[in-house]
Amino acid sequence: MSISLTVNGRKRIVETDADKPLLWVLREDLDMPGTKFGCGAGLCGACTVHLDGDAVRSCQTPIADAAGKAITTIEGVGLNDIGKRVQEAWVALDVPQCDYCQAGQIMSATALLKQNPKPTPEDIDGWMSGNICRCATYMRIRAAIRTAAGLPAEESVA
């Protein structure tokens, strides 16, 4: 079926199956590989995107559910002021190791700071616990979120 989408502010029309997850439409039909496939079951967070500003797992979002909504992906998150600050903090603190989960981490972190501009350490851990980093760069993910939020650094996160 033909589905009309708004991705990072651009109108896109795709010809695809209604049950195909948004993740695979982004990766295969729209040639946007920034959103990552990790588990296909909503368990790892690598595929996180925003749907009307809310963080969702795109591997669990049938494309029909995304029609008519504003989709923001890692490719476009920097158009938003909070997203840009998160990206900059990620670069400044050299957060990633393998990098693979980090697009999802950034999308989740951006959604967090939109709802909660000055999160506590518990807020950060609670919100981000849906995103697995297999390399376990968690000390720097915490620090980068605090940096993006303008909060002082915690102890010994070098």
Partner: protein, 720 residues
């Protein structure tokens, strides 16, 4: 256009490396003088000087998140006297005849390349200096270099590398073994933090990984594998699959795990991976697996329990008279330990893209060991290794999983089924969990004897592991040099083997990730019996500063002592205290001592802080990455112990389907703080992808014991 002059293969040298290995290095240094913008997609060797005086450096090793893509070019840039801002980094293709070894494994990149990569940089610098000397008719010794320029102080002349590149490329490449290297005290790049080269790309979603490979006309493949490892295809009913519009081919292939001529994997190729993946539901496969469905976790546990009480099948080490000494020991300590199979669970599922065209195979591979993949893929595709071109992609984690090349072998055969079309093979998460190469389980029965003074005088271990034909299978070994065996006068280490159908493999800090737990936990028990804490027991057992010979590398007791003392000082260790635990381990040439501080909150362990002291030699090449690696190792190790990681087998197959069945560490379980310090010693620098992991596991178990009084002798720790 590019005016590239190849000086390839002018000289080959044999370089003796730390650890005694000998490597033949291709010493080729290509200096390309460019008149316009150089194409940035292909490198012919390590160094290319661009017209704007930027310098493109080839990063030869596969990048799995260990930071090697920055670290190796740092070594070249240092000796070339570049300003880091000039450096552009490009991943090279896989070609060991040109670049030397290209492996991401064993934390070997630093010790193997510390001298060779610096020599490559120094050779390039020498050629630029020689060119400038000729140009100005001065003696090369009167010239210096800095920030990508050659300087003649006496006349005030200077010339950029770009202006000299063409002339330099015509100079003879110097003998790498003799090219002078910088005084280590004058380093300006080594030891200074350099952030990851791909980070700006990842935060903006640009393609980087194997899974992101996109080629014109590319098609997609999903796999169906025999659930029981080692089973093979008996028959396929693919009529319903082939009837699906967009499905292009169904083909049975050999993943490299079953004998040649057999198949253990069915590949469905379609115009989208989503479609190929869904089509699997309609595929009928009968498997020939009767000989492998009897293997289960329950059977291993029952068999191990019997074996461990019997006499060992073979001896690993026998010194003195362990039984006789134990019979008259003042104290005897006995304990059984074990640990399970583990999966790697790299977050990027296994994948590979291949194009078969005109009898040649072009491959885009997220492989930690592409040379092995080349040989295996060529063999199973009926090609010569030279028919394969392998491009290396960044990897979404490796942890040893991608040392195996099943995905490359499968992609090669899938591509051969559809000549002219690039085929991307992608496992889903369940394929990835169920068809891993697992860290093998193991069982240990320890006995230790103390004399009246509390000294360890006798030591026995019966190690029950997996083997075939009287030898351990991959990653199922134990070194007879596990500390403290080499320094105890009466030792008896025995080994017994069980069979398994599972493919086993190297998981980050292989063997060490398990041996650290059993040995350092048991030593904590022995120390307690001796009335000591573990750090003090270790100091006494290590004894005088000396090098103890090992299987491949020696073990310096003074370096061990150095990190033990450092971590105890930083953490304010005051002997046995509730909620604190200590662990030490030496692996991959790195010495690490760690202390875990924890508390119980609502019946669950909460890790408050971990202290790490490591000795990886005289230099920490890239401190910002070193810190991240050490902290990641610590959290990875805690995950293996604390959150239930265990691979379970039923009817020959793995039960884990997704992250709900095999937990990975999440941010809310990570320690609040991890303090890392490096103890610098006068040894060549060594690697950091692994050695910080092993000691945290016993440190954690020992900390729980100190808090609760319950001694955990099994992984994963069963927290009640």
């Amino acid at each position: 256009m590019t005016d590239a002059i190849s000086l390839s293969r002018r000289s080959f040298i044999a370089t003796s490396l730390a650890g005694g290995a000998v490597l033949t290095l291709d010493a080729s240094v290509v200096l390309a003088a460019t008149t316009t913008t150089a194409p940035s997609d292909v490198l012919n060797a390590f160094v290319r000087i661009n017209a704007d005086n930027s310098v493109t450096i080839g990063a030869k090793n596969p990048e799995i998140g260990q930071g090697v893509k920055v670290m190796l070019p740092m070594l070249i840039a240092e000796e070339m006297d570049l300003a880091w801002e000039q450096v552009r980094i490009e991943q090279t293709d896989a070609d060991e005849t040109r670049y030397g070894p290209q492996v991401a494994g064993g934390s070997t990149a630093t010790p193997r390349n510390w001298l060779p990569m610096r020599q490559v940089g120094a050779a390039a610098r020498a050629m630029l200096v020689a060119a400038a000397a000729k140009k100005w008719s001065v003696d090369p010794s009167s010239l210096s270099t800095a920030k990508g320029a050659v300087i003649h102080a006496a006349s005030g002349k200077s010339a950029t590398y770009a202006s000299l590149a063409k002339a330099a490329a015509a100079e003879a490449a110097p003998d790498l073994a003799k090219v002078p290297l910088k005084d280590e005290k004058t380093f300006t790049i080594i030891g200074k933090s350099k952030p990851g080269v791909d980070v700006p790309k990842i935060v903006t979603g640009q393609p980087l990984f194997g899974i992101d490979t996109r080629l014109p006309g590319m098609v997609h493949a999903a796999v169906v594998k025999c659930p029981a490892h080692g089973g093979t295809v008996a028959s396929i009913d693919d009529a319903a699959v082939k009837a699906i519009p967009g499905v292009l081919a169904v083909t049975a292939v050999n993943s490299g795990f079953v004998p040649e001529g057999k198949s253990d994997t069915v590949v469905i190729i379609a115009d989208s991976w989503w479609k190929a993946s869904k089509a699997r539901e309609k595929l009928g496969v009968k498997w020939d697996d009767a000989t492998v469905t009897g293997f289960t976790t329950a059977k291993y546990e029952a068999d191990a329990a019997k074996l461990v009480t019997a006499a060992p099948q073979a001896s690993l080490l026998k010194t003195g008279d362990a039984d006789g000494t134990l019979a008259k020991a003042a104290k005897v300590i006995k304990a059984d330990y074990d640990y399970p199979f583990l999966a790697h669970a790299s977050l990027e599922p296994q994948n590979c893209t291949a194009l078969f065209k005109d009898g040649k195979l072009e491959i885009w591979a997220p492989s930690q060991a592409p040379a092995g993949g080349r040989a295996e893929t060529a063999k199973l595709c009926g090609l010569s290794p030279d028919d394969l071109t392998i491009h290396l992609t960044r990897m979404g984690g490796g942890f040893g999983r991608r040392l195996m090349n099943d995905y490359m072998v499968i992609a090669g055969q899938a591509a051969k089924a559809l000549p002219g079309k690039p085929v991307k093979v992608l496992y889903d998460r369940t394929d990835d969990f169920r068809h891993d190469f697992y860290r093998p389980a193991g069982w240990h029965r320890f006995t230790a004897g103390l004399d009246a003074s509390g000294a360890l005088v006798a030591l026995k271990d019966h190690f029950v592991t997996f083997g075939k034909d009287g030898k351990p299978i991959r990653a199922a070994q134990m070194a007879p040099t596990e500390f403290p065996a080499p320094v105890v006068p009466n030792v008896d280490l025995g080994i017994s083997y069980m069979a398994t159908n599972l493919a086993t493999g190297w998981l980050r800090a292989p063997t060490s990730n398990a041996m650290s737990f059993v040995w350092q936990s048991f030593m904590d028990e022995v120390a307690e019996a001796a009335g000591l804490d573990l750090p003090e027991f270790m100091r006494r057992t290590l004894g005088a500063p000396r090098e103890i010979p090992g299987e491949r590398v020696g073990f310096h007791t003074a370096r061990a002592r150095g990190v033990i003392d450092a971590v105890c000082k930083s953490a304010g260790w005051k002997g046995r205290e509730k909620g604190r635990g200590f662990g030490f381990y030496f692996s991959h040439l790195g010495y690490f001592a760690e202390i875990v501080d924890l508390s119980m909150k609502n019946g669950a362990v909460s890790i408050d802080k971990v202290w790490v002291a490591g000795d990886i030699g005289a230099h920490v090449i890239n401190p910002i990455n070193a810190m991240n690696q050490a902290q990641g190792c610590v959290i990875d190790g805690i995950g293996q112990a604390l959150i239930g990681q265990k691979i379970v087998q039923e009817a020959g197959a793995i039960t884990a389907e997704n992250f709900g069945d095999f937990a990975l560490m999440r941010i809310d379980a990570a320690p609040r703080a991890i303090a890392v310090e490096f103890v610098k010693t006068d040894f060549p620098p060594t690697g950091l992808g692994e050695p910080a992991l092993p000691p945290v596991i016993p440190a954690l178990a020992n900390a729980i014991y100190s808090l609760t009084g319950k001694r955990h002798r099994r992984l994963p720790l069963e927290m009640v």
